[in-house]
């Protein structure tokens, strides 16, 4: 799904932000990206959606060489990748509905369908009732959930999150993290940057560690506290595992 081959990045005037980074993230994996501030996490993530290009090396996303995509085709790559940031990046003057449906609107989806998509996406993050609010009226945790709904609206293959809980207190962070795990359960590849070692220890999963631009460690961790964060355990312990990842049905059809 996401392959880096000897990727290096040098910003003009600076030293190497990334240095010969190589890894392969298969489809459907959940990956933590960690490392101290300035280790190169943001730079690495920005390369996946071609916000930045490597100085050397190759990046394949979904089998496509990202550096070779012509400028005019970049939007099509980005439509398959949802991105969430630490600072939410919502448009303050637009409603939650408008923020979330920006991409469907660009794609010319009709309003009725947009509403359905927005409802589904916001329901997944538990905010379906705030459709007409404006971002500043929401708490930080809620804003981040809206940002996640926006990232999910087009059913992306990949969800990228750059320190999504950096601005949130621990309880909210857990909730947000649970959302990402849920999204991953439905088959979306998730790559989440954080320098919160604690969370990583508790949740487990694959962990890529950057140190001064080098990939210092690539390991599988077993979480110490999976039930607390595992959406299966937390929300529906009695349901057989194979029934869980079904997509949520639209509201009309849930009654029966």
């Amino acid at each position: 799904m996401i392959q880096f081959f000897h990727v290096s990045k040098k910003y003009p005037g600076g030293q190497a932000a990334l240095d010969e980074v190589t890894f392969d993230i298969p489809r459907g994996q959940f990956v933590f990206l960690t490392g101290a501030s300035g280790a190169g996490k943001t730079t690495l993530l920005r390369m996946i959606f071609r916000e930045e290009v490597p100085t050397s090396g190759q990046i394949l996303v979904n089998g496509r060489n990202v550096s070779a995509i012509p400028r005019s085709k970049i939007p099509y790559l980005r439509r398959t990748i949802g991105v969430v940031f630490q600072d939410f990046r919502l448009i303050a003057r637009k409603t939650i509905f408008e923020n979330v449906t920006y991409l469907p609107q660009v794609l010319g989806v009709d309003l009725q369908e947009q509403k359905k998509l927005a409802y589904q996406a916001l329901r997944r993050v538990g905010l379906a009732h705030r459709l007409n609010a404006f971002p500043p009226e929401l708490s930080g945790g809620e804003q981040q959930r809206v940002a996640i709904a926006r990232a999910l609206i087009n059913d992306p293959d990949i969800l990228i999150a750059d320190e999504p809980t950096g601005n949130l207190d621990p309880d909210l962070s857990r909730e947000i993290l649970r959302l990402f795990l849920e999204v991953n359960l439905r088959g979306t590849t998730v790559i989440l940057a954080t320098h919160d070692r604690d969370t990583i220890q508790r949740v487990g999963r694959r962990v890529l560690t950057l140190d001064h631009g080098r990939l210092a460690n690539d390991q599988e961790l077993i979480g110490t506290d999976p039930p607390a964060l595992d959406p299966l355990a937390a929300e529906a312990p009695q349901v057989p595992e194979e029934l869980i990842p079904a997509p949520e049905p639209p509201p009309e059809e849930t009654a029966g």
Partner: protein, 298 residues
């Protein structure tokens, strides 16, 4: 995506941007309006001057004044002779007495100025109407006039062509000055619009970043700004046309029979010219927007 939907979105975004930044938008609209107003005024005056010149050209005359003592028989003989020349449409012999009567009719208050003289105060003349098609320069016209000048009976020849020629030159000068002035003003207006659009884009930098992030195409991101420039220009053009019309009505109401209403602004601009002003405004606005966003990164 459907074009109609996209256009609706572009216009809605542009409208919202115009209203949100209405102060700077107004500035842009006014600079466009002022330049188009001045351009329109020049167009109005030069068009009317030109049509006046055309009209006068149709009535163009050469008047040959005779010496005071020329007998009436000579006047008739000369008239008959003049009528035979090519390009002459009509010849009207005006006797000295007829000239005096006409003067008294046209200027009743000045009639005693020419009354009570021993001799006739005004000279007899031949009023020669020229064929408008060749009026300006029928072949041999100069030689023909020169031959009249050397006649002993002739005192003076008044040739309309001279001042009509000068007037035509004046029209051309007005036109040129107008075009140059408008080009300069429009340049300034385009610069203003470009700055305003760039400012709007700058204020929306964060939003634009988010649009890019979720996968909006460049066209989709930029089109609202292009439409904003277009709207500013078109609104400027509409304002300019309205102001021209109001000014025209005002001057007409005030100055009936003055030089202005009879020569400089007999007719208002035609629908095509008004449409041209508005389109010019729109084009200038669009151009300003395109120029301001021409760099790859907004």
């Amino acid at each position: 995506m459907s074009l109609l939907k996209a256009l609706r979105y572009f216009f809605r975004e542009a409208g919202v941007n115009l209203l949100r930044g209405w102060k700077v938008s107004l500035l842009a609209v006014l600079t466009i309006a002022v330049s188009l107003f001045i351009g329109g005024a020049f167009l109005l005056v030069s068009d009317n001057l030109e049509s006046s010149v055309e009209r006068w050209r149709g009535e163009m005359r050469v008047v040959i004044y005779l010496k005071p003592e020329t007998p009436e028989a000579d006047l008739r003989r000369l008239a008959a002779e003049a009528a035979r020349a090519p390009g002459v449409r009509s010849v009207e012999p005006v006797t000295a007495a007829a000239a005096r009567k006409r003067f008294q009719e046209v200027f009743p208050s000045l009639s005693n100025l020419v009354a009570g003289w021993q001799e006739e105060p005004l000279p007899a003349s031949l009023e020669i109407g020229l064929d408008p098609r060749t009026a300006g320069n029928a072949p041999g016209r100069e030689a023909w006039l020169a031959s009249w000048r050397t006649r002993p009976e002739v005192s003076l020849i008044d040739d309309d062509r001279e001042w009509l020629g000068q007037l035509a030159t004046a029209v051309a000068v007005v036109r040129t000055v107008g075009v140059a002035l408008v080009a300069g003003l429009l340049g300034a207006a385009i610069f203003t619009i470009a700055s305003v659009i760039r400012l709007t884009a700058y204020l929306h930098a964060e939003e634009i970043g988010i649009m890019r992030l979720v996968g909006a195409t460049e066209l989709y991101i930029r089109a609202p700004f292009y439409v904003e420039g277009l709207l500013q220009g078109v609104i400027g053009g509409l304002l300019a046309s309205g102001a021209l019309w109001a000014g025209y009505q005002l001057l007409h109401a005030r100055g009936g029979g003055s030089l202005f209403s009879s020569v400089l602004a007999l007719d208002f601009l035609g629908a095509q010219q008004v449409a041209f002003l508005i389109l010019l405004g729109g084009a200038a606005g669009l151009f300003g927007a395109v120029v301001s966003l021409r760099r790859e990164a907004l």
